[in-house]
Amino acid sequence: MTVPAPLSLIAEVTHRCPLHCVYCSNPLEMQARECELPTEAWTKVFNSAAELGVLQLHLTGGEPLARPDLTALVTAGRKAELYVNLITSGIGLSEERLAGLVGVGLDHIQLSFQDAQEDAANEIAGARAHARKLALAREIKKHRLALTVNLVVHRQNLSRLEEMIAMAEELAADRLEIAHVQYYGWALRNRDALLPTRAQWERSLEVITAARERLKGSMRVDFVGPDYYARYPKACMGGWGQSVVLIDPAGRALPCHAAAVIPGLRFDNVQQRGLRWIWEQSSAFQKFRGEDWMPEPCKSCDRRTLDFGGCRCQAMLLAGDAAATDPVCTLSPMHGIVEAAVESVNGNARADWVYRIDPPSA
């Protein structure tokens, strides 16, 4: 089987973060500061990625601004001829530092907001961050740097969706990403407090469809739905090992953010093996590439080339088997698990949540 070249490199340059969002997509087991790759190692990774065909570098974390060498990392990414995107909470980005990043050629910033209302936003983040984010968005626009406003939506803030979209418009974002929480890591732990009700989900779809139509030409609106309410699973990462490679703070290469939850996979480290070898030949990237691993009903399903059987990590987390059909699929024999979660949320009041903690220091 020929292996396609990856298009995107997600570089989790640190797991440290000043926020404690209750839906963080980082693994529950995080990498400590002492394990983080140094500047030179990341530079090598960016060069190997570009050679492999990668076009876009997404610097993320944790909070990438926690790295004092972030400007050097952006420089290295641009030198490797990659499109450099910074995915950030904005906390730790002074005016000087922003000007420095723009100066070395940063292409785009994705700035996350937790809500349109300050108190609610700060409660989700477990930090007083909202006012700073608003000020920062305005500074970003002053530099004419492309800005995506990222809104993570869930049961606690969906009733303010119009307000949140208006906030993005007021900030003159070039792109708006509205993403329903996906249930991995900290979000899965807090699912009962985050999963929207069916009525909320349906209403959010109407609001977003209308906003998309109205904002055509001024602000691109991308949307990620809550797959628990979908009929078929999402085409997670565009398929396992098809277009995305993620490097964690310590240099381990993974096919996605959550893959470490799958037991028995060995994730090679870019400090020991070349990125090309890892991408093309390592066992972890081969494991669910293509269709050979598929069980029924996926194997004979017409949609297998559209959604690739859904998400392997979700299959692991919900069905206890990474090679099972994603249980969110209505055709999955395990779909009852998802139906039960949805049912309980539609009949229940709010549950308490657990804040994401910082990685431990050695």
Binding site: A5, A50, L55, Q56, E81, H108, A146, D174, E177, G217
Partner: protein, 93 residues
Amino acid sequence: MSRISAASHPKLRPGCRLSESAQQGEILLIPEGILRLVGPGRKIVERCDGQRTVDDIVRELTTEFPAVEPGRIETEVTTFLDRLHQKGVIDLE
């Protein structure tokens, strides 16, 4: 939403640029995505500098491709730019 006309000055928005790498083919890099360019796509995008009008771009491509009927070039350029505008990739100044 502004509509495209022959006098519009299309301009690539911040965060949108042509790929420097030839490995994956002709690609327009956009915030958190890519657009694969086919046919004269790259030649059109290269000219979205905010100086040239749609009319200018059509004229230049007509000179470059004398074998193609000018009416067809005009339709193709306008349709393509309109699509890029709807995707938030170009401004029409």
